[in-house]
């Protein structure tokens, strides 16, 4: 084991020297997502600041954990899901962000936290097959649960993240009380019981965005939960799918600085730069995820038509329930075990 | 005196084979074979490999379906009967003992199939094992047995259900020489005791001569000769049989009516020779070295070319005037070997008229 760590550390140390003094290294998820980030955020911001940005892809917070634990940190900034960033922060793997440097005054509340600043916004929505429901699909979570009004098969998330809130909303809990109710084992059990109620109609518990998009495309299910961007892509591809932002869950991806990052101060300044509205406004050109900075909507870059499709446009955001990262940090592992219990029944 | 494994004796069956033919592509494995096997006799099918003897046995057992022909056990036509309904005992070359059963399990197998009660089966199995001198071996595993023991178990299994016909496919070929010779005698005794019609396949002429009531010599899918061992040896029907069984030298002879001459010298003989072209067959042990005694014999002048010492006998090779080489075998006694002429010396060989065998010059009966 020791040998492995030394080898890994050596390899990382070698790559670390490759990044110049006047530059930073950013790690993200790759693919079309990172391409959008690169075009809209990284490249313009690095030009404006006159620094070099080295982009890498990584395997998530477990990579950061390895780097921090071996003291050979090479990433200055990592892109992450809000939940895992929150847990990594609690674990002590991330630097606290300096919000006197990063201006989040025009951010949506809740889209930044001590260790992570929001980079893009997406929604967990309910989507339906427009052929099965030609007269309009469900308009809230109660409808999603109503198998008499909307008969048909459903798909639902196979993991606990974003799975409990809709159940409570369908059960009549007010949006503002959802996380309060969930902050006890009984509350979690209440949400899971509600899912148990629907379970006979749930054909598939999906585990990836690609999967829930394909399920709708193939007509395997008539209704599913899922991430809005995927359904837009599927619809553009000819799938008979529509969704609504009403009662959807507003979630975000964020940027964080690993503990002991080699260019921590520069990274902080870079985060301040890409959080500005003018960069954020360009993101929807490349992917249908919304900016975290509200001010971006006031710029010309986002037309009204595009804005209507984005989760974080003020009108859409107002209908949604923002994900509570702190609740996930505290309760996710417990809730996850309980959720799995339900799945295996 | 017939004996039986049970008290109810069963009669042996004669086998009648008529016009059995089996071809593989253009090769005749069996070519219009006719053969009568007598009830209760020990008949050996003898021939070189590829002669068709095994094919004929497989046809008898039902494992090979011939192209045409008739096969009767007693009065019943069985040519279309599947193997498991033929009720024959068979001993396979590699024994084919079931490795997943014990010795007793193997021997009891045919009884089990015939619905014989466990108690009776156990009794008969033990009796069969005793018959092959393996009493008390029932619980052993097949892998724990020596080659000879396996052979006996295979035999016990083949006779335990008292088939009226027993087939054996080179059953002794895997055993060493000493054991083989002992088993030959045992098998023969067992046959005499049980009295079932036995068809035995071998390529070993000595084995055939030792065990059989009659031998059918097979070649190219045809029966070359069927007769008693001594008739086969002493009076082969053709050159193939003479050549295949025992050692022999063939000398060309001329024929003019009843006079048969070798190199212009008329031969005296006792048996009427067959018609057509003839050769003189000389067995090495029938030639004698003449030392001037008066007895009437056909005489051959020759030159000694080699002498081989073989322990119990010697083999002397000699060249006749026409260049043909003959072999002479003699028993070694303390005086005979040293009295032999030296290599290069001349010698007079004698052949008694009774041993002067004239056979057709061709290889096969109709050649």
């Amino acid at each position: 084991m020791t040998y492995r760590l030394i080898a890994a550390a050596t390899a990382l140390a070698l790559t670390a020297t490759a990044a110049g003094a006047d530059g930073i290294t950013i790690a993200s998820w790759g693919g079309s997502y990172q391409k959008a980030q690169s075009e809209a955020l990284f490249k313009p911001a690095s030009e404006a600041m006159g620094i070099t940005v080295k982009e890498e892809t990584y395997g998530g917070m477990s990579d950061v954990r390895l780097q921090v634990q071996t003291g050979a940190v090479t990433f200055d900034i990592v892109a992450s899901g809000s939940g895992s960033a929150s847990r990594a922060g609690a674990e002590g793997l991330l630097e606290e962000l300096d919000y006197s440097v990063i201006d989040v005054s025009t951010f949506y509340p809740g889209l930044y936290m001590p260790f992570c600043v929001g980079g893009d916004v997406f929604s967990t929505v309910y989507a339906w097959n427009t052929e099965t429901f030609p007269d309009g699909g469900p308009q809230n979570w109660a409808d999603f649960w109503d198998v008499e009004k909307f008969p048909g098969t459903r798909a639902y998330r196979g993991k606990v993240a974003g799975a409990l809130e809709p159940a409570l909303l369908a059960d009549g809990v007010a949006p503002e009380d959802v996380y309060e109710v969930l902050s006890s084992v009984e509350g979690i059990e209440r949400a899971i019981d509600k899912i148990r109620e629907l379970k006979p109609h749930i054909t598939v518990f999906w585990t990836s965005g690609a999967q829930h998009a394909q399920l709708m495309k193939d007509g395997e299910v008539d209704m599913t939960t899922g991430w809005n961007g995927r359904f837009d892509v599927a619809a553009a591809d000819g799938a008979k799918v529509a969704y609504s932002f009403n009662q959807a869950l507003l979630d975000y991806d964020c940027f964080a600085i690993p503990k002991g990052a080699p260019n921590k101060d520069l990274a902080m300044k870079f985060l301040a730069e890409i959080s500005k509205a003018e960069y954020q406004a360009n993101l929807p050109k490349y992917i249908t995820y919304g900016p975290t900075n509200k001010a971006a909507y006031e710029l010309d870059a986002i037309s009204a038509d595009v804005a209507a499709m984005l989760p974080s446009s003020p009108d859409n955001a107002a209908m949604q329930l923002p994900i509570d990262i702190e609740w996930y940090a505290e309760w996710e592992t417990i809730a996850s075990e309980m959720y799995q219990e339900m799945l295996t029944e | 005196m017939r004996d039986s494994l049970t008290d109810t004796a069963t009669e042996a069956l004669p086998i009648t084979i008529r016009g059995v033919t089996k071809t593989y592509g253009r090769v005749h494995a069996l070519d219009d074979v006719d053969l009568d096997i007598r009830s209760g006799e020990f008949l050996t099918l003898l021939g070189p490999s590829g002669s068709g003897k095994t094919t004929l046995l497989m046809v008898l057992a039902g494992f090979i379906r011939p192209d045409r022909g008739s096969l009767r056990f007693g009065d019943d036509e069985v040519i279309r009967l599947p193997p498991h309904k033929r009720d024959l005992g068979m001993v396979f070359q590699n024994y084919a003992l079931f490795p997943h059963m014990t010795v007793a399990g193997n021997v009891a197998y045919p009884l089990r199939l015939r619905g014989i009660s466990k108690a009776e089966a156990a009794e008969r199995v033990e009796k069969a094992l005793e018959t092959v001198q393996l009493g008390g071996y029932g619980a052993r595993r097949i892998t724990q047995l020596s080659g000879g023991q396996k052979q006996r178990v295979a035999l016990a299994r083949a006779i335990v259900f008292e088939p009226r016909i027993l087939l054996m496919d080179e059953p002794l070929s895997a055993l060493d020489k000493k054991l083989r010779e002992r088993m030959q005698i045992e098998l023969r005794h067992l046959h005499d005791k049980l009295g079932m019609t036995t068809v035995y396949v071998t390529h070993d002429q000595r084995e055939a001569l030792t065990m059989s009531d009659r031998i059918a010599v097979i070649n190219h899918g045809r029966v070359m000769q069927i007769d008693t061992p001594s008739r086969i040896y002493d009076h082969p029907a053709n050159r193939f049989v003479a050549d295949f069984i025992g050692e022999s030298t063939f000398l060309p002879v001329g024929r003019d009516g009843p006079v048969v001459a070798y190199e212009g010298q008329p031969l005296s003989y006792t048996d009427t020779p067959p018609s057509g072209d003839l050769v003189l067959m000389i067995r090495p042990e029938r030639l004698r070295i003449l030392t001037g005694e008066a007895r009437e014999a056909n005489r051959f002048e020759a030159t000694v070319t080699d002498i081989v010492y073989q322990g119990d006998s010697y083999l002397m090779y000699a060249r006749l005037a026409d260049g043909a080489e003959v072999a002479v075998r003699g028993v070694i006694r303390s005086t005979t070997f040293s009295a032999l002429p030296e290599v290069g010396g001349s010698v007079t060989l004698g052949l008694d008229p009774e041993d002067t065998v004239l056979i057709p010059a061709g290889d096969a009966p109709d050649e």
Partner: protein, 301 residues
């Protein structure tokens, strides 16, 4: 006396030399094996040891049994193990039911035809597991080919649930596992001397009795080997249940993956791996005893 001693001494010297030669040969042989031994050490012993060690490390980094306690306390873990073994048994059973007649058929064919047929059996090996699994999804889902054709042909009116459940998972796994059963089985059937079957027929066994009393028992070692391979491979399956199980059929491997994602340490996942490994070893050990017994029964075969 001294004359006699000389050859004796020479003989003794040779004995030493010969012994040294023998030892050198053994060393050379060991040298040949050493790369493989080293590889086994590096890729097998060390990771498994590490896994074992990690499973006893709690979330706070100290020695703890919490990873195992969680497994015994929670019903879902028990169900996951149950599902894993249930699917493995079911898949193995169906593989035997389909694979045995198939191998039997192949073993009866002439060599050339059998080879050709074997290639078609092996063909699935040459396509990616994921592709094959998705192909099954295309066939089995609600609006998949099988349901659409069956409804067109009037076999059934409503789509039958073939995918996203246990049925789909087992269908997909049987397809993938079948060659692993057929190959060893075919080999052992081919190795059965025809004379055994002839002997049985000669002794009075008709084709059916012949099969049950001779052919089947003699093919059992191959069947056992194949079934064992299939069963053990099934235990660790991930892709097929993940794609065809609809998220409700959860096997141990999937739980391992989700534990790595969910918990901050590897111990939770390692503990699952250790328990699965232990369960597999118990089964292998039990099975090995049967196989050995069977070997004895199978004799030199």
């Amino acid at each position: 006396m001294s004359e006699a001693a000389l050859p004796m001494a020479a003989a003794a010297t040779h004995a030493d030399d010969l012994r040294r030669d023998a030892r050198r040969e053994q060393l050379a042989l060991f040298g040949l094996a050493s790369p493989a031994l080293l590889l086994v050490m590096v890729v097998l012993v060390i990771p498994v040891g590490w896994l074992f060690y990690l499973s006893f490390i709690g979330a706070d980094g100290s020695f703890s049994l919490e990873n195992y306690e969680r497994m015994f306390d929670s019903k879902s873990y028990r169900r996951i193990f149950w599902t894993t073994f249930e699917i493995s048994f079911l898949t193995t059973g169906i593989c035997i039911l389909i694979g045995y007649p198939l191998a039997y058929f192949l073993a009866q064919l002439p060599r050339r035809a059998a080879n050709l047929c074997l290639i078609t059996v092996l063909l699935p090996f040459w396509t990616s597991l994921l592709v094959r699994t998705y192909a099954w999804l295309v066939l089995l889902q609600r609006k998949g080919l099988i349901n659409e054709w069956a409804i067109d042909l009037g076999l059934w009116d409503e789509p039958v649930k073939l995918a996203h459940n246990m049925t789909g998972t087992v269908i997909g796994m049987v397809h993938i596992m079948l060659p692993f059963l057929v190959l060893p089985l075919y080999g052992s059937m081919k190795a059965i001397d025809r004379d055994y079957l002839r002997a049985a027929a000669n002794l009075g066994a008709g084709p059916v009795r012949n099969f049950w009393t001779v052919f089947l028992p003699l093919s059992l070692p191959g069947l056992f080997a194949g079934a064992l391979i299939v069963f053990v491979l099934c235990l660790g399956f991930y892709v097929t249940p993940a794609v065809l199980g609809g998220g409700k059929v959860i096997m141990v491997s999937m739980k391992i993956a989700s534990n790595i994602e969910l918990f901050v340490n590897w111990g939770a996942a390692s503990a699952l791996g250790v328990v699965l490994l232990a369960a597999t070893l118990v089964i292998l050990f039990t099975a090995a005893r049967f196989v050995k017994l069977d070997r004895l029964a199978g004799g030199g075969h």
